[in-house]
């Protein structure tokens, strides 16, 4: 089956949905499917596609925009779909999907949109607009609540699917970095420095932790960049935390920079199925994460880490303190997390579920061109 993944590709570092699409395409290729990538601009995404030897094309002007489909872009997409003889279109960002869906509908090729977080859900007007211009597509939600919410936007229930995220299993024998002192793990946080990632909550959690632990407070390393970087640096300065928090900029694989005995913090206010938690699980890392998206399903009890309410500074400090105590007393067993990842959240499992959806869409009656 020939699948075209449509991704915005506008950033200087791969975004979560771009990484998802690339991982999925890699797994599909391994399963004998033929994935292709279409993006809006040259850059790091194209480079990543070439490294993985995926056919890739640029359709100029295809960029995130909540605007009605533009004819020039639709025609550019149709040419690419035709030249690849596409059998299915898979969109990965709602703000670029409208053009991709319109082009798919015109050519009669089935189309599916993965909904990554509830930004799309919150903007109900987006689905109103798709409905107003008569676009037809199916949607894959990465978490159960999005799946339920999508039903409220008048999307036919039969066109809605739920497939949790999946990540690669580290190859057998992979050796992770070891912490210098197994009783003093460091903390690691990776993500865009924007509000909804809750980095400010983590910084304030560190202020509270320092207040409680004094000189025993661990250090926090933050990987990422974004429009709130300056604000966060000011916050760290005025809260006098410069000695325990450092920014190291964006990293394509931040977990490879830390020991598997370090603690991952995921402090987001909003997420769908954050793959970094699954990646940390696959390495047996302890995790403290906010109760957003699919997180409570990923980390169902204290053996895997701590799940805390989003936007609570005291709860974050409590969880870190308690998990540090578990680790120090040898109560944290990394193998439990590794096993859970293997049984629930592998990339192969996700690719298998998505292929089942593709088959269903392929068997449905072809769309009549608009």
């Amino acid at each position: 089956m020939r699948i075209v993944h449509v991704i915005s590709g506008s950033g200087s570092i791969l975004s979560a949905n771009e990484r998802y699409a690339l991982s999925l395409a890699a797994a599909q290729k391994k399963r004998g499917l033929s994935p292709m990538i279409i993006t809006g601009s040259d850059g790091i995404l194209i480079q990543a596609c070439r490294e993985q030897q995926f056919p890739v094309a640029v359709v100029p002007g295809l960029k995130p925009a909540e605007k009605p489909p533009q004819e020039e872009i639709i025609q550019g997409l149709i040419r690419q779909y035709d030249s690849f003889d596409a059998q299915l279109i898979h969109c990965h960002y709602y703000a670029t999907a409208m053009q991709a869906i319109a082009a798919a509908n015109r050519t009669g090729v089935p189309c599916v949109l993965t909904v990554y977080d509830d930004e799309a859900i919150a903007s109900g007007h987006y689905f109103d607009m798709c409905s107003e211009v008569g676009l037809k597509f199916s949607a894959i939600a990465l978490w159960r609540r999005d799946h339920e919410l999508l039903k409220e936007y008048d999307l036919p229930e039969a066109s809605l699917y739920y497939v949790p995220n999946g990540t690669q299993v580290p190859p057998p024998g992979t050796r992770f970095q070891e912490s210098g002192d197994r009783h003093r793990p460091s903390l690691i946080l990776a993500g865009d420095l924007i509000f909804r990632k809750g980095i400010h909550d983590a910084v304030l959690g560190m202020a509270e932790l320092r207040r409680r632990l004094g000189p025993d407070c661990p250090t926090l390393t933050i990987y990422g960049d974004g429009d709130r970087a300056e604000y966060l640096k000011e916050m760290i300065y005025v809260a006098e935390l410069t000695d325990i928090i450092r920014f190291l900029g964006p990293q394509p694989d931040p977990l490879s920079c830390c020991a598997s005995t370090d603690i991952l913090i995921m402090s987001s206010r909003v997420e769908a199925g954050p793959p970094i938690i699954q990646e940390a699980m696959s390495r047996g890392m302890p995790v403290v994460a906010t109760d957003v998206g699919e997180v409570a399903d990923m980390l169902p009890d204290h053996r895997y880490g701590r799940v805390i309410p989003a936007g609570s500074i005291a709860a974050l400090a409590d969880a870190l303190e308690s998990l540090l105590a578990d680790i120090a007393s040898g109560k944290f067993d990394p193998q439990v997390s590794i096993d859970r990842h293997y049984s629930h959240y592998t990339l192969e499992r996700m690719a298998d579920r998505i292929e089942t959806i593709y088959s269903q869409l392929d068997q449905q009656a072809p769309l009549s061109p608009l």
């Binding site: 909540e66 207040r211 000011e234």
Partner: protein, 373 residues
């Protein structure tokens, strides 16, 4: 002229807190009361999410309020259709000649119905939102029409650049009534006052962190920050104050009506928002000659064009806000701040009477455009 002010809030929408009254509610209250004084007949039509203090204040002024039984709390078409039917019934019952919407949900529900029966619709843009141009485009494709009043020039320019026709855009800055100057006779070291919903977009976190910076600079001379407003986050900002050790100088007082009217007019208003259009609280403070430190958002630089009126600082910057407050405190202690200048600027540009007159001019234009014959 019978005007229906329409606010249809969704259950999860900011502004749907029933025991709160935000800038939008204060604007509607000010405008409707002034319209009544001018001989128009305003009515508020809203739903179950209407702000209770707004409803009570309007009723206290003898302005009819209709709370529709259908609560448009779900985003599906059935709920929208039912709300539109209920709204149409009220429009007919009150013999409404013009619908004035104050949020996007109101437009979604009112415009298709109003266009069908030939009643013009106006939307006041209270929040800068990219959704507005999308909504406008979608309406245009369906042959629907509505006009917009922007309370900030910046918002009007931005909407014009997004492709909205100039003929559908009007600019009328917000206006407030003139509040009495109130100060106790004894000498007063100014406190800082912050009024608004306690959420990140309002920059409450920036103000709290600026207090940490001010304490570092001023030591025991640091002023107290009094924060008034509903806190939908629960305990987040209190936890923040505790974590950075500011419990003694940052105080939360919850929502109180008319805070600006009752505080000492020598206190400093801090407006640290990350986004605003035409912040009512700044105008209320101006009307009493209060010194103001506000972020450069929406209409603020028009309101406070130079340091004689206060300080306008970069949004989202802790250090810039601390600098602004420190420098204004110094102006005040040196006797360089003159409240009468601020009062005069409010009186000449931002009174509720001026706003109501300008809005009425827009109504007349919209009515002519709607029925040119």
């Amino acid at each position: 002229m019978r005007i229906a002010h329409v606010i249809i809030a969704a259950g999860n929408e900011i502004g749907a807190n029933r025991d709160d009254m935000q800038g939008l509610g204060r604007h509607v209250l000010n405008l409707a009361v002034a319209q009544k004084v001018r001989g128009l007949n305003p009515v508020l039509i809203s739903n179950a999410s209407a702000e209770r203090p707004l409803v009570e204040a309007l009723q206290g002024e003898g302005i009819p309020v209709v709370i529709m039984p259908s609560a448009h709390l779900q985003p599906n078409q059935t709920a929208k259709d039912q709300t539109a039917k209920d709204l149409a019934a009220q429009i007919e019952k009150f013999n409404v000649q013009l619908i004035h919407c104050h949020n996007l949900n109101g437009v979604r529900v009112a415009v298709p119905m109003a266009n069908q029966i030939g009643i013009p619709c106006v939307l006041t843009v209270h929040r800068n939102s990219r959704s507005i141009s999308i909504l406008y485009e979608a309406a245009k494709r369906q042959g629907l029409k509505f006009s917009m009043i922007c309370v900030s020039r910046r918002e009007r320019d931005s909407l014009r650049e997004s492709g909205i026709s100039e003929a559908d855009l009007y600019y009328v800055p917000n206006g407030t009534r003139s509040l009495p100057v109130h100060q106790l006779p004894e000498p007063h070291y100014p406190d800082l006052t912050l009024v608004g919903r306690i959420i990140l977009i309002k920059g409450v976190d920036v103000a709290i962190l600026a207090m940490a910076e001010l304490r570092r600079r001023l030591g025991p001379d640091v002023p107290v920050l009094n924060v008034y407003g509903v806190d939908p986050s629960g305990n987040y900002f209190r936890e923040m104050v505790h974590a950075v050790g500011l419990d003694d100088i940052v105080r939360f007082h919850g929502f109180k009506l008319d805070v600006i009217e009752h505080c000492d007019s020598r206190d400093i208003l801090v407006m640290p928002s990350r986004s605003e259009t035409g912040p009512i609280v700044v105008l209320e403070a101006m009307s009493r000659g209060m010194p103001i430190v506000a972020t450069e958002v929406g209409e603020v630089t028009e309101m406070l064009p130079d340091p004689r009126y206060g300080r306008v600082v970069r949004p989202d910057s802790v250090v810039a806000l601390a600098d602004g407050i420190e420098s204004l405190l110094k102006d005040i202690s040196d006797g360089h701040f003159d409240p009468s200048l601020v009062i005069e600027r409010h009186r000449s540009r931002y009174t509720v009477e001026k706003m109501a007159e300008d809005v009425e001019t827009v109504y007349k234009q919209v009515l002519v455009n709607n029925n040119p014959y």
